[in-house]
């Protein structure tokens, strides 16, 4: 998606230069019941920024911590460590903004369009709930709901009084988008928002999201395991593996010149549309390691075709790849001083 020209927003405090959201060293470990001292390291020291008006795509395998990260960004899950800075204000700090202020400006659309709607509530009430909680009178909240339902392509007269079980998956996801937008957010986290929809409906919803972004001047964090969709919507892409960021960069750089072996493997696993370009062998073997007991050093070394002794002992740091400051990767191959025998070579794939 193209960078939208930002209209002046009274809530915009830091200006265009100030990132919308800075996540610093976010960490969340879930204690494992019955195993003392063991924990699932769902998100382990993740740092990134979301720029105003961009779409940041987050990709990774199932269980790599994408959804936990999304919930951390809204404080729906309280981080063990790390901090969030929203438009220059630290979230939850005495001199920053409280969590509730963050939640008014950041909203989320969940993957399961069905379970994210109250089955006993007509959808107009579900959509009006946010504005109502913000303190708007009931009639005004309902008016907002009507407007927003129209914006997502659902007639408020026709669909407003209906219940979720009377709607199709695509319609329900539109309601979920409406519910998020009714809060008047500046940033929307889309957690696998189109993954559960079939392709054609998903494409319609994607186009709707794209139009809404332009119309309402939104910033998106787009979480998905579908690389094609991420490539289509994102300005920048963040690749996660086992709770860590392994690569982050502009969408073209990530998809054309991936630097981390994991990103290369992910892209290599995409089915090609060209029948002459067959995949010879599976690029990654095995399942992702158990996040309770992640591998030492580089977490990917157990499955990496370029792994050497250094990868198992030394933790690679996220560093700029050669030739591009905006493109960073956490791999010893990228760091000539890492001790990896093939470090610093231009291309390994």
């Amino acid at each position: 998606m193209t960078q939208a020209t930002p209209a002046p927003d009274p809530r915009d405090r830091g200006g265009l230069k100030q990132p919308m959201l800075i996540a610093q060293n976010l960490r969340k470990h879930f204690a494992v019941k019955g195993a003392k001292g063991k924990s699932v390291q769902a998100v382990d020291g993740v740092s990134f920024t979301v720029r105003k008006g961009e779409t940041l795509g987050i990709v990774g395998e199932s269980g790599c911590g994408k959804s936990t990260l999304a919930r951390l960004l809204l404080h729906l899950v309280v981080p063990d460590d790390g901090e969030l800075v929203f438009d220059g204000d630290k979230v939850g700090a005495p001199d920053g903004i409280p969590v509730n202020t963050l939640r008014r400006q950041v909203q989320m659309v969940f993957q399961d369009s069905h379970s994210s709607l109250n089955p006993r509530m007509p959808i107009r009430d579900s959509v009006a709930f946010g504005p109502f909680v913000q303190g708007k009178p009931k009639t005004e909240a309902r008016q907002i709901a009507r407007d927003i339902l129209g914006k997502v392509g659902l007639s408020a007269d026709l669909f407003g009084p209906r219940y979720p079980h009377e709607l199709s998956g695509g319609q329900k996801q539109r309601v979920n988008i409406a519910r998020a937008l009714a809060m008047g957010p500046r940033m929307v986290i889309l957690d696998e928002a189109v993954s559960a929809l079939d392709k054609s409906v998903g494409a319609q919803v994607l186009n709707l999201l794209r139009g809404l972004k332009r119309q309402l001047n939104l910033t998106y964090v787009f979480i998905s395991h579908d690389l094609n969709v991420v490539q289509y919507v994102s300005d920048r892409v963040l690749v996660m593996y086992l709770g860590r960021v392994v690569e982050l960069g502009p969408v073209d750089a990530i998809f054309e010149r991936p630097r981390h072996p994991y990103t290369q493997a992910l892209l290599g696993a995409r089915p090609s549309m060209d029948p002459t370009q067959r995949i010879e062998e599976p690029p990654i073997t095995g399942d992702p390691p158990n996040p309770i007991d992640p591998p030492s050093g580089c977490r990917f070394h157990t499955r990496c075709p370029f792994a050497e002794a250094v990868c198992a002992t030394k933790d690679p740091v996220l560093g700029a790849v050669t030739g591009s400051a905006a493109h960073i990767a956490a791999c010893h191959l990228q760091d000539p001083a890492s001790g990896h025998s093939r470090a610093g070579q231009r291309s390994v794939a």
Partner: protein
């Protein structure tokens, strides 16, 4: 006919005058009930029983407390005593009608109070989770350790007989199961995304509970409560039977069964009347509760 009525109802809501008729959840429940003759039959029977108990002063052919030494244990239809007379010569039909008032009261009131208290505790515990939940649920488990009949007898016995103490004992007996039902339903609802979405609006826990949890928890609580009523009537009868609930000469089905028990070798039929009343009423509550469950507990 119902179509027209429903449409008229919709147009009254000026906003949706052009909208096609959209059925609400409760309209669907009523529809399904209307197509369930068994539930309707038992519902009507139940309504008749309740109505008869309420209107006892007008329906009863005799004074339920008037004794007559020569009229003791007379058979059905003896001199206008349709159901005969009891061991003190009182008219059985009149006593049955009056007895229904106390029996139904002791069946319904403890369940209503227990639903309110147990339901609240369960929702709070389930939603809060952690230590609050552990504290509430483990306390309930203590009560669970005793069989319900024994617990009711023990509480009622230690506080002495009487209607009030009997109802208090029954209420205490029903709070733990109500609490557990509400807690289970709340925990189930709490893990769904729409609660998370509601929290993401910045709403307080109380607001989230009021708008999103209660509506989804009340269904199971209500269904379970309606099935508890029959248990409550039986337990109340049991307490009265043991001399712990209603005291003579007040009429109560359980107490009548207890006193007429001694006459069972002389006149077995009179003893059957209060027993049948308890049985039929309990059945009605069970069948209606089953029907409601079927009508309300649909997969949405």
């Amino acid at each position: 006919m119902t179509e027209v009525a429903a449409f008229a109802h919709d147009t009254a809501d000026s906003e949706e005058s052009l909208a096609p008729r959209v059925r609400s959840y409760w309209q669907n429940v009523v529809d399904r009930l209307a197509r369930d003759p068994v539930t309707l039959f038992f519902g009507a029977l139940l309504a008749a029983i309740i109505l008869a108990a309420v209107c006892a002063p007008w329906l009863a052919p005799f004074d339920p407390y008037k004794e007559g030494i020569v009229l003791r244990l007379k058979p059905f239809g003896y001199r206008g005593h349709t159901l005969g007379t009891d061991e003190l010569g009182r008219d059985l039909l009149s006593r049955l009608l009056y007895g229904g008032r106390l029996s139904l009261l002791m069946g319904v009131l403890p369940v209503v109070i227990a639903s309110a208290i147990g339901g609240t505790l369960g929702v709070v515990g389930g939603f809060a989770g952690g230590r609050v939940n552990t504290a509430i649920m483990r306390t309930m488990d203590v009560f669970y350790a005793f069989p319900s009949v024994l617990l009711a007898v023990a509480i009622s016995g230690s506080m002495g007989g009487g209607v009030m103490n009997g109802m208090l004992a029954l209420t205490l007996v029903f709070i733990p199961p109500m609490c557990r039902i509400a807690e289970t339903a709340t925990v189930q609802v709490k893990s769904l995304d729409y609660i998370e979405a509601a929290r993401a609006t910045g709403a307080s826990s109380l607001t989230v509970i009021r708008h999103h949890v209660l509506g989804n928890v009340l269904g199971p609580v209500f269904i379970y409560a309606s099935s508890l009523v029959s248990v409550s009537i039986l337990l109340a009868s049991g307490l009265s039977f043991l001399g712990l609930g209603v005291r003579p000469p007040n009429a109560d089905w359980g107490l009548m069964l207890a006193t007429l028990r001694q006459a069972i070798y002389v006149q077995p039929w009179v003893c059957a009347a209060p027993g049948a009343a308890i049985f039929v009423t309990s059945m009605c509550f069970n069948m209606v509760s089953d029907g409601l469950r079927a009508a309300m507990d649909v997969r949405l």
